[in-house]
Symmetry: D4
Subunit: 133 residues, 8 copies
């Protein structure tokens, strides 16, 4: 699979859909899972173990630890989408962007699921282009 | 053991020491580990599996996911100390305080390792008092 | 009694209810008082003098001094819930989290009454478990 | 006495001194107490009971509950000075300014002890002027 | 007259009314003017020259320069009420609270016209009490 | 004269100098005054009455009302430079940028006296160019 | 032409209209283009090459790079209007105000298209006045 | 070439170096250019036209438009590093993260050049891995 979309909460469904639509426009194969890192750490671990995704899009609000937790369990590129749940989404934006050195997350804008998908498309296109060379 | 202190980075050592000093004043048995959730997720998992601590104090800056990750792996009380690394510590404060419902973290003030220890002391004293009744 | 819930204003009723529901799910005995620290300091003092609660949950917005005032009058664990009344609740969050060393308050997320109750449950469960040993 | 200056911590001494200097320039009789509301609530209560001050200047950082606690125990004008201890003093500013309706505190600028004294001088001058009429 | 209430914009009418109601409860004589410092600096100057008010309540949003402008033209106590027009009122709060040393404004909470009136009542009561002595 | 630079405080001298240097590079005739709107409102009024400047550069920190006060007394373009005195200059930035409709101030970056001068140069060059046509 | 109004998105139409109305009141000749710097950098370049506007008003939200991009391609005065799309418009305000030295943008208040037009009117009036001398 | 590092200012050299060191550890071929989008838009355009880089790392402070400008001129992945120049780097963080839909930038933490390089390494490794399949 190309992209695994993981959202921390069913309340993020609208942002998930905005990402999915752009992935579909790019004909990118994807799968979506709803899994809270904080409430289901074991399940997230299992999802990651079984996943063969090339790029991860992680959507989360509040203490948005999901993208960082995924980035800690894979060496593939991880894109984080902060969701506006409180404080206009500033909490999630800082939680996702301010990762410690060594475990990068690619943070996009608040509620901007579309841009996460556009970024995934750029990363995957790079691979395809390189392989054809 | 009563308290396990976990800090995300060696650069948090000063905050760790301020917590340890207060734990010692309260004659609370403790152990300290330096373990980054993002860089050593497997080791954190192992620490948690082997731990018999009654209360956790987790000290972290930036995208301070450590307290939440610990709270997701234990049903014991978890206290989080945000460290001022960037933005005056606002990033860590929001990352620690804004946990989703169901997985609570007790957030204390920025760089306030002492108060984490004081809070642990209150929680442990409650247990001792109740058992004596 | 296990938990005393104190809210600073009748306008916090919805957050109070979210805490109560979780306390009920955990079969935790609780009582709720509405008492403003700023408008009824004498009554708060009296409530605290008569209280035998093991854990306090204090819910307040704006200059949310209630949790700190309670923590100053008891040596039991005090959990503070910042309420979004202005500025997205940032004022209350900082008022509750940034306590001076020596008088700890366990701050949970903005409007997150549920997590205050979950944290109280963890603290009380710790006591029960220890006594059975 | 005209003004009682109360500071929450010895670390506020420099701000206290900037207020005292302006009070002296205005020949205003004053007394200064260091008393933490959170650490010495009983002593603060006693100070307030024995005080005959006409105006209060309360200087505090972090969860700066002192001015509000004083305003709750007197019907005299209370001036609050937020001190920059963390977050540039934003925490103290919001804690002091955002008081609930009914218990007013006159907030001045961060670390601006001088303006607290100037404001006290205006308030006291108003009284003197009115009495002479 | 006891209090002159000045609001920067007709859109502040609701906050003005909350102040007036409390002034009426305290039987304080007041008058209200709508005058923008930025749009009518000459008229504000004239209002100030003709005014014999003992206390000023200035209500303004955005770059809330009105309270400071009034404080610069009188030596009477000036109370500022920041109005939430943009950014939750943070712009007005900082504009009013952060006055330079020498020209104090007593800042109350965002949209808290009631507290401005309560503070005015405390200041005026002090004068009445002192004169009776 | 082309540009009148007005700074609210002697402590702004470094920012003033950075503006003056750029004005000199552009061979723009200028004069500099230090005048606090809050402390010397009458003198500011007089400066404005006597001034024949075509563009104003106003430099101020904290409750930076100076640019707005100048914009209220002239119909010439007014450029405001927020100075970092507290809160990283966010207070001054918001005080200068958030002017009410009808009285515009051209806000440049925090401590960026150079850009105020560059902007003045663009405005003056426009006039020269148009007149030559 | 006197003024070219450029807006980054059709969703800014309301702010655009508030600017246009004031330009019309001042009898200023203007033209409006909708062009996203990020999505249509080539088209923006072309618009700038063909433009003979004397003043630019650029309206943009989020990472509001449009005003700076225009200022980089012209030596005419550029006015930027931050639009509230997320975070109350703080993101756009900082993106527009914090330009590097050498490339100035005149930032007005959040959503304040009217003030951009008023500022443009002041700049253009200056030119007309000077030419008549 | 694999990675083109572009920094907006010589003052970003330390952050540039932290990125370069990590690129070298990963044996990633890179080149570094110092080019300000705002001051040298033409040169940036030329750099982009001549570049065959697979991934871009753009380092900028203040109104950090550089990453977005690069993302607008390429369809390769663009990583942005906000630099703390003012306001703790919050201005640059928001300028980089809050890109409009369609033109994604992968934002990493404030001053975190290392993570930009780690993210680039993940993206490039993905390509290599896919081609070998």
């Amino acid at each position: 699979m190309d992209v695994l979309v993981i959202a921390g909460s069913k309340s993020d469904a609208k942002i998930v859909r905005s990402a999915e639509k752009v992935l579909e426009e790019h004909n990118i194969e994807y799968k979506t899972e709803y899994c809270s890192f904080h409430r289901e750490p074991g399940r997230l671990h299992q999802i990651m173990e079984e996943s063969d995704a090339r790029v991860y899009i992680c959507i989360a609000g509040l203490s948005a630890a999901l993208p960082g937790a995924v980035a800690a369990q894979t060496d593939k590129p991880v894109i984080g989408v902060p969701v506006d749940s409180k404080l206009g989404g500033l909490d999630a934006l800082l939680s996702i962007a301010q990762m410690p050195s060594g475990v990068p997350v690619a943070c996009v804008g608040i509620d901007n699921g579309a841009n996460a998908a556009h970024l995934a498309a750029r990363i995957l296109a790079l691979s395809q282009e390189l392989c054809q060379t």
